[in-house]
Symmetry: C2
Subunit: 396 residues, 2 copies
């Protein structure tokens, strides 16, 4: 079959706030081929991504993404890999292309899975998926007391793992940070898996991060996430050599296999965090999962949007037993909830499972998404290059 | 003074061909502050870059570039650095932002230079600029005879250095490639500086590149450019260890300081090639030039568009004597020629100089650019976010 259509849908909350919540808008991708449709989601700024799909060619290595996707043959998984390589070659100089490709690649896997009546993880070569332990992701409180309360709430909600991030950490004194770490541990309880995320607050300054290590050891944090900018590989390595049992985690911003590889090879991280909606899709994420396994690094998804994105992010490492943890979005905006009719819930043991249904196993909720659809129109040289598809997300 | 306006102009040749010529379109940036204007050029796909400037906010780390630039104070060079850091923080998850920022940063330096009546290289801390030896950049011929003729033509035109790239290299046998290398050397003459560019043809396969080394040694090539994908750091290092006097060159695609740093730290390159129109502007390029100097790596510009871009690309290393070579675009499309009224020519010794006039020292040719201006209109949610400025590039 041939790829007949790729449609892009920009969705947004009525009001987008200046807060660190990435579920306030979304770019959904619908691919059609052979009477089947597949869905994907980009973890990306929607408008520049749409522009990267429709833009006029600049030169032979700066073509619109559409040029490498529309009309392509899609018969088996090698075709998905081939299409990804085509995009990377033909849009080499179009920076936004990795983010746009991500949603397309995810939709291609979904479509092929439905066509072949297999879940994506099976197409990826995994005999069966292993249950993953979800961690609740939340911000530190403004005070240690508030952090304590948040930890207690996560524990009451049944989470066996929780991540505390951003907030005041790194902005005050070492002692103030230590109070938060102690509070997080106390709230979560002695057995919970505690993860700490400092959101690149120290950029590349090892001497600002290192004084926090004793408190991180004392609270038995499993990982310290993004102490530095993701490109600051030498700073990561230097800190890793002083971190003892505490592992470093990074990778959510990577937008190529190589970038993830550099973190694994040169930054001495213990956990590589991959967003399938950014790195180039399920194909590239799967490649990173295999590389991480070979290097003794633990793979974990990065997801803070819909359960369509969550299913996509679970597939690349669904069959890897040793990669136990899973980022599980818990405070979604109504838009992100509306993306799918079904959701990926916790089982009685508090674990999550990659869906067993064909493709990604998720059903897009066309009706619920209607109020969030944003009309977009792009004209270049008097020609209409993009307009929100007239079916407005209705089932085909 | 405050930044009052940032205007973007998409320019293109009437027909853009599917060839490796990046001068077929352009995105010019005009910044206004305190009654002065500055100009910059992005080496980027115009439409997604424009979209990155005007797009609605997705969340606190995915804002439009405009949000971090318009209304900012611009008094001294620290302000330019501060604005760049703001963009990198506020648009962290907007992939296209580095390309858009590049043109803005360049325009800010131009504006500040005009305001302070100093050339940009002086603002960068260089007492005076050193002459650079331009190399003519061309494609290999389809046959060794054609390559020979191209080398002879470059020599007749007075070039003391030339780069041959792409074409059939790497696609045929080792012996066929060797014939081209011999022809290039013969055409250029025994004293010319010969540079070879293989355009990432071997991706990350060291064993495909290594058999070409004897012929590259025999023709006394100064560098081998991009044998591999720019992220394939381990492949670069492995080849560098077998390359003897031949140095590796890479870096044109880097879009952050860190990416260039990784090539210097982990790939053992001898030359780092930076496009100020991609990496984040003159500010980031200058940072790379200093880092390269400290690590014994030679800095060289990457430029294949207008002389506005050429001036911008010369500034970051204008005052570094040991970084002698300069990529000099020789086969520009009429659009790229039309960008500036003046140009950066070769002196009687065949050398080029960063302009001595204030700012970038280039005068944008408003009239000549008129026929190339492309009308763009972007509407989101019924609201007009961007339309080609109504002054249509006319002097303010």
């Amino acid at each position: 079959m041939k790829i007949e259509a790729v449609d892009l849908f920009y969705l947004a909350m009525p009001e987008v706030l200046d807060i660190g919540d990435g579920s306030q808008d979304a770019l959904l991708v619908r691919v059609q081929a052979g009477g089947e449709e597949g869905w994907g989601e980009c973890e990306a700024s929607p408008l520049p991504s749409i522009a990267s799909f429709v833009t006029p060619m600049s030169h032979s290595a700066c073509k619109p993404i559409a040029a490498s996707v529309l009309g392509q043959t899609l018969q088996d998984i090698d075709d998905i890999c081939r299409i990804g390589n085509l995009v990377r070659a033909n849009s080499l100089d179009l920076l936004q292309s990795a983010h746009m490709l991500s949603g397309i690649d995810i939709a291609l896997w979904d479509l092929l899975g439905k066509r072949l009546n297999e879940p994506v993880w099976k197409l990826l070569g995994y005999p069966h998926p292993f249950p993953k332990l979800p961690y609740a992701s939340m911000l530190f409180g403004e005070s240690p007391q508030a952090t304590l309360a948040k930890g207690q709430a996560a524990r009451r909600a049944g989470y066996r793992a929780a991540k505390f991030g951003w907030g005041p950490i790194g902005l005050g004194t070492v002692a103030e940070d230590a109070d938060h770490f102690v509070a997080a541990r106390e709230g979560l309880g002695p057995d919970g898996i505690l993860l700490i995320d400092t959101g690149t607050v120290w950029h590349d300054d090892v001497e600002k991060a290192a004084p926090r290590l004793p408190a991180l050891h004392a609270c038995r944090a499993t990982w310290l996430e993004e102490p530095f900018d993701s490109g600051a590989l030498t700073a990561y390595r230097a800190l890793a050599q002083r971190s003892g049992p505490l592992k470093l985690a990074a990778g959510e911003g990577t937008h190529s296999f190589y970038m993830a590889q550099h973190l694994i090879d040169y930054a001495d991280i213990g956990y590589v965090q991959i967003d399938a909606g950014r790195i180039g899709g399920i194909s590239v994420a799967r490649q990173v999962a295999a590389y991480a396994q070979a290097r003794g690094v633990t793979y974990v998804n990065h997801t803070f949007t819909s359960h369509l994105a969550l299913s996509a992010s679970l597939q690349p490492y669904a069959g890897l037993e040793q990669d136990l943890l899973c980022e599980y979005p818990v405070e979604l905006q109504p838009l992100a909830v509306a993306v799918t009719e079904n959701s990926i819930g916790l089982d009685p043991d508090g674990m999550v499972h990659a869906p067993a249904a064909p493709g990604l196993g998720m059903r897009v909720n066309h009706a619920a998404l209607q109020p969030f659809l944003v009309d977009v129109e792009i004209r270049v040289g008097g020609q209409l290059l993009y307009r929100t598809p007239t079916d407005r997300l209705r089932p085909l």
